[in-house]
Each structure stands twice: as structure tokens, then as C-alpha cells.
């Protein structure tokens, strides 16, 4: 067992395509990946995931093999999309998340909003800011009761902020200002306000340059 600081041992982190932290990898004795656990989990869930992997269960490889038989199983499709994303296989992940939202447009599963949010975040990671904003906007427009609603507004703001095209910073700033006004008691309101202020300074600097 090893604890590796991925920011220091960048060679090993790159070898296993570690994209976020924490990433706990299960390898066989030859150092080949069996699977990985990405992010924080409660101890019992974490243990059961690692035990499954060591038994060859619920690994990405085994799920890919099961997919033809389970392609109408909503929960399975979401899990597979999630699993591909953990491995940094964004094209494969996106494909399944899009299938998922197509299968459950009315959000009966309660996860369609989550799937759109995942699509938005993946797009931002790949610097596809137009898609990032598009998916975030779908949540805002179609699922106003979603618990992802506020996060989606902020995501759209980030999609504008990160985009280098003219006029985008202004749009981002407007979204963050509006957010702080609409949800003054929200835990993210101070952050939104700070983003708006930083953007104001950036916009002023650009105009002055």
C-alpha cells in the first residue's frame, strides 16, 4: 500500500491517469489497474467497493460486458456513465449520460438533473464552455425544483467566466451579481459576490488596456 502525493509524484499520477483527488487505486501485483475509487465515500461504501473490485465485481470492465443486457436499466446506465468519468473516459461517459437524460427526460429517477450537471462539469473540464453553459441552462430552465438548481446557475456563470470570447466576462458578472441578490442567505452568496467583484476588476483592466 502506498500514499502518493499526486502533485509531487506526477509521473505515477500521469501513468494511471489520475484526474482528481483523492483517487484510490486497486492494482494487481503487477501494478495493472483493477479499478479505482474516486472521491470521498463513507467507510462501509468504500470498503465494499474495494472488496468488489478485488473480487472482479462492478469493475469498469465487468460493467462494459454487462451493458448490452442492461442498456434499459436507468440506474445501471448512470453508474456506467459515472464509472467512465472516474476513469477520465469522457467521451464514453458523455454518451451514457446523454442516453440517460434521453431515457428519463421528466426526471422521474431524480437523477436527470444530476446527469446534466455532470455533463456540464465534464464539458468545462474539456474547455468546451458553450456545452458547459448549455447543459447548466437546461437544469435551470427545465428543473427549477431541482436541488441542483442553484449549482447550475453558478455553473453557467463559470462557463461564461472561463470563456475567452468578448462579452463573456460581463455575462458571468451579471449572473454572479444576480445570484448574490436572489439568494443572499445562501452559503455560496459571498463567493458569488467575490466572483462578481473580481470580474469587475478584470473587465475594467481590459477596458483600460
Amino acid at each position: 500500500m502506498a500514499k502518493l502525493n499526486a502533485e509531487v509524484d506526477t509521473t505515477t499520477a500521469a501513468r494511471y491517469r489520475v484526474l482528481s483527488y483523492p483517487t484510490i487505486m486497486v492494482l494487481n501485483e503487477n501494478g495493472e489497474e483493477v479499478d479505482r475509487v474516486v472521491g470521498y465515500y463513507r467507510a462501509p461504501e468504500f470498503i465494499s467497493q474495494v472488496q468488489d473490485y478485488m473480487a472482479g465485481k462492478n469493475t469498469l470492465a465487468s460493467q462494459i460486458a454487462e451493458e448490452p443486457a442492461k442498456k434499459n436499466d436507468l440506474e445501471f446506465v448512470y453508474k456506467l456513465a459515472d464509472h467512465f468519468a472516474d476513469h477520465g473516459l469522457f467521451d464514453e461517459s458523455r454518451k451514457r449520460f446523454l442516453i440517460f437524460v434521453g431515457m428519463d427526460p421528466k426526471n422521474r429517477s431524480g437523477r436527470t438533473d444530476d446527469a446534466y450537471y455532470r455533463l456540464a462539469r465534464m464539458a468545462r473540464k474539456e474547455h468546451d464552455y458553450a456545452s458547459d453553459r448549455k447543459y447548466a441552462r437546461i437544469i435551470v430552465d427545465r428543473y427549477p425544483d431541482s436541488d441542483m438548481y442553484k449549482s447550475a446557475i453558478l455553473e453557467e456563470g463559470q462557463g461564461y467566466r472561463k470563456d475567452g470570447k468578448p462579452g463573456m466576462l460581463e455575462k458571468a458578472r451579471a449572473i454572479f451579481i444576480d445570484y448574490a441578490k436572489r439568494f443572499p442567505q445562501d452559503e455560496d452568496a459571498p463567493w458569488a459576490k467575490e466572483q462578481a467583484d473580481t470580474l469587475a476588476a478584470k473587465i475594467a483592466a481590459r477596458r483600460g488596456a
Binding site: 500500500m1 502506498a2 500514499k3 502518493l4 502525493n5 499526486a6 502533485e7 509524484d9 505515477t12 499520477a13 494511471y16 489520475v18 483527488y21 483523492p22 483517487t23 484510490i24 487505486m25 486497486v26 492494482l27 494487481n28 501485483e29 503487477n30 501494478g31 483493477v34 472521491g39 470521498y40 465515500y41 463513507r42 467507510a43 462501509p44 468504500f46 470498503i47 474495494v50 472488496q51 478485488m54 444530476d114 450537471y117 462539469r121 436541488d147 441542483m148 449549482s151 455560496d188
Partner: protein, 61 residues
């Protein structure tokens, strides 16, 4: 789901690693976990003992 949630589970994670080590043991586990800090050493240990590897990629942020 709140995407900003998280961070609370670092302690739980450490506990879980101990538990995984215990349940998957093929040889006696020493008290406490002896973590390697180098990839090459870990690989050599695993090959020598025919045991799988758990690699924890963390950061200090």
C-alpha cells in the same frame, strides 16, 4: 446532490483502509498501516508477496 459536499470523510477513509487491509490479508497485518511513499517500493513489495496494491493519490491543497 450537493457537489460542494465532501471533505468530512478523510477520517472515515483512513479507517476504511485499515479494515480493507484486515479483510483481504494473506499474511499477518502489522499493527497500524505501513504506508510506502514510493511507487517502485510498493510494486516490489507486491510482487514479492503476491499481494494486490492499494495506491492512495492525495494532495496537500
Amino acid at each position: 446532490m450537493n457537489p460542494r459536499a465532501g471533505g468530512w470523510a478523510a477520517g472515515a477513509l483512513a479507517l476504511s483502509l485499515v479494515a480493507v487491509g484486515c479483510t483481504q490479508a494473506k499474511k499477518p497485518i502489522p499493527a497500524g498501516i505501513e504506508w510506502n511513499e514510493a511507487y517502485a517500493t510498493t510494486l516490489a513489495d507486491a510482487r514479492a508477496n503476491h499481494r494486490p496494491i492499494l495506491l492512495d493519490f492525495y494532495t496537500d491543497w
